[in-house]
Amino acid sequence: MIDFIRQLNAPCRDMTEYVSRSLDSELTRSQRAAVQVHMLYCRACRRYRAQVRMLRALLAERPDAPEILAEAANLHLDPATKDRIIALLRERSNPPKPDNGQ
C-alpha cells in the first residue's frame, strides 16, 4: 500500500519508465495500478504510451526488419576491405598446393 501511494505520486519521468518497462518485463501490481491512475489524467503520458507501442508494432510487423534496416542504413564496406576479403576467400577456397621446393 505504501508502495502504491508513493508510486501514485511519481512524476511523468517515472511513469514513462514504468510504461517502457512494461514492454520488457512484468510490472508489480502497485506499479501497474499507479500507471493506470496516472493515465486517467495525463494526456502526455497517454500519448507517450501510444507512441512506444506503435514503434514496437511497426518493427514487429516485419520479421525481416533487421535486414531491411541494415540495407537501408546504406553503409559501404571500403573497396580495399572488400578486395582483401575476396582475396582471403579465394585463398581459402583454393588452398595453394604445398610447395616443397622440389
Binding site: 514513462t16 494526456r43 506503435m54 514503434l55 534496416l69 541494415a70 546504406n74 576479403i85 576467400l89 579465394r90
Partner: protein, 198 residues
C-alpha cells in the same frame, strides 16, 4: 496468369551455396548489407569489418551445410549474428557513465514533461516498406547514445528477450530498463520532429 513456380524460382539469382561460390559475387552482393548490420550494432568500423570477414570465412566453410531453407542473404545474416553475439560476449563490460544521464532532457527537475507530446496520427506511410520512413528511423536510432541504441536494436529490432540481453551485455535488468527507457524517449522525440511533424 500466374507464372509457373519454376520460373519464379529461377528469377531470383542464387549462387547456390553448397555448390561453387564466387567470392567476388558474394562480397559485392552482400558485403554492404552485412557491414551495415554489424556497424549498427557494434558502432566501430574496424570491428564491423572484421565481423563481416569472419562471417564470410565461416560461410565459406559451412556452405555445404546450407540447405536452401532460407535465402542466401538470410543465411549469411544468421552467421553474422552469431559472430556478433560472440563479439558482444567477449567484449569486457563497458561502463556507460557518459550515457547514464542522457535521454531524460524532456523532463524538468520535478520529473514533469517540459515538451509537448503530440498525438501521432495513424500514418500509413510509417512503415518499413517506405524508404523515407526507414531513413528517418535509421537516422534517429543512429543519433542515440551507443549503449541506448544497442539495447534498443537487440530488444526491438532483433526481438531478443530482456534476460538474454542482460546476460550478453553483462548488465542488470534495472540497467537494461533504464537504457531502453532512454532509447524510447530519444526515438520518440526524434521521430516526432523528423517524421510526425512534417
Amino acid at each position: 496468369m500466374e507464372p509457373a513456380p519454376a520460373q519464379r524460382a529461377s528469377a531470383e539469382p542464387n549462387s547456390a551455396p553448397g555448390g561453387a561460390v564466387d567470392p567476388q559475387t558474394w562480397v559485392q552482393r552482400y558485403g554492404d548489407l552485412l557491414f551495415g548490420y554489424a556497424l549498427l550494432r557494434v558502432r566501430d568500423r574496424t570491428v564491423a569489418e572484421e565481423l563481416v570477414q569472419e562471417c564470410f570465412v565461416a560461410a565459406l566453410e559451412a556452405k555445404d551445410r546450407f540447405l536452401g531453407g532460407s535465402t542466401e542473404q538470410t543465411w549469411l545474416v544468421g552467421i553474422l549474428k552469431h559472430k556478433l553475439l560472440d563479439h558482444l560476449r567477449r567484449r569486457s563490460r563497458q561502463p556507460a557513465s557518459a550515457d547514464q544521464d542522457a535521454g531524460l532532457e524532456d523532463f524538468d527537475k520535478r520529473g514533469l514533461w517540459r515538451v509537448r507530446v503530440n498525438a501521432w496520427s495513424d500514418d500509413p506511410q510509417a512503415r518499413l516498406e517506405n524508404e523515407a520512413f526507414r531513413n528517418a528511423l535509421n537516422g534517429c536510432i543512429g543519433g542515440l547514445p551507443n549503449t541506448h541504441a544497442v539495447a534498443f536494436i537487440l530488444r526491438e529490432i532483433d526481438g531478443m528477450q530482456s534476460e538474454e540481453i542482460c546476460t550478453l551485455l553483462e548488465i542488470s535488468p534495472t540497467n537494461l530498463w533504464a537504457r531502453l527507457h532512454r532509447a524510447r524517449l530519444g526515438l520518440r522525440r526524434c521521430l516526432e520532429s523528423k517524421w510526425f511533424q512534417r
